[in-house]
């Protein structure tokens, strides 16, 4: 999974399909990245995501729980229309910022 670390912010570029099956690997990789105590903020770049169902909500919320405990944040960048609608329905944007 391509990512960049700048200061206390890690940006991860998600690609392909995010469903319950792929969520396991994505979750494990994200957890490994934010296990670094230096990381406070996670930005998920979703431009390369070709599909996501509601499994994606859990993946984002789970990481939010981890990072918010150390005063950090999670943001999503460039969600496609469907991904955006799924996040909106779930109320995710109340705690996760959407970056353009």
């Amino acid at each position: 999974m391509k990512h960049t670390l700048r200061g206390d912010t890690v940006t991860v570029f998600l690609t392909g399909e995010l469903d319950h099956h792929s969520a396991k690997d994505i979750r494990a990789e994200l957890e490994a990245l934010i296990a670094n105590p230096r990381v406070k903020h996670l930005v998920l770049d979703l431009k390369g995501l070709t599909f996501m169902d509601s499994s994606g909500i859990g993946v984002v919320l789970g990481r939010y729980k981890t990072l918010s405990q150390r005063g950090g944040t999670v943001a999503v960048r460039e969600p496609g229309p469907h991904v955006n609608q799924i996040f909106r329905l779930s109320g995710l944007y109340q705690i996760v910022e959407k970056l353009c």
Partner: protein, 146 residues
Amino acid sequence: MEKKINEMRIDFLAVEENTAFARAAVSAFLLPLNPSLEELEDVRTAVSEAVTNAMLHGYEGKGRGMVRLSAALYEGGRVEMEIVDCGVGIEDVEKAREPLYTSRPDMERSGMGFTVMETFMDALSVRSRPGFGTTVHMEKRLTGAS
């Protein structure tokens, strides 16, 4: 009465990998109708949710049991789909359909599956009997890119 123009039915094992297979199969089946990309994504998402429910809740994530996906196309672009499992069933369908309700918070499930299906489909009905499985019926009219 709209004339049925095509119909399909596939059975697949309730292993997670087959969720992507179910999405691909339903996409391929609908392509002759020339749906818009958005419509296709609506259907793919709803099918993904229903199949995931069948695997994780119906068959409790054990990877055993078969899921049936069937679809029928009607003149005018209406599509009917059914996702059927013979798993544990749902005790309280009304509760299961509530947004954010999940029986599996331990698996980071959000409880948004049925809400997503309702949002992307024109109609959704759920029949279930504890111990006998669940049938999710969905309908959508595809107006197409043309």
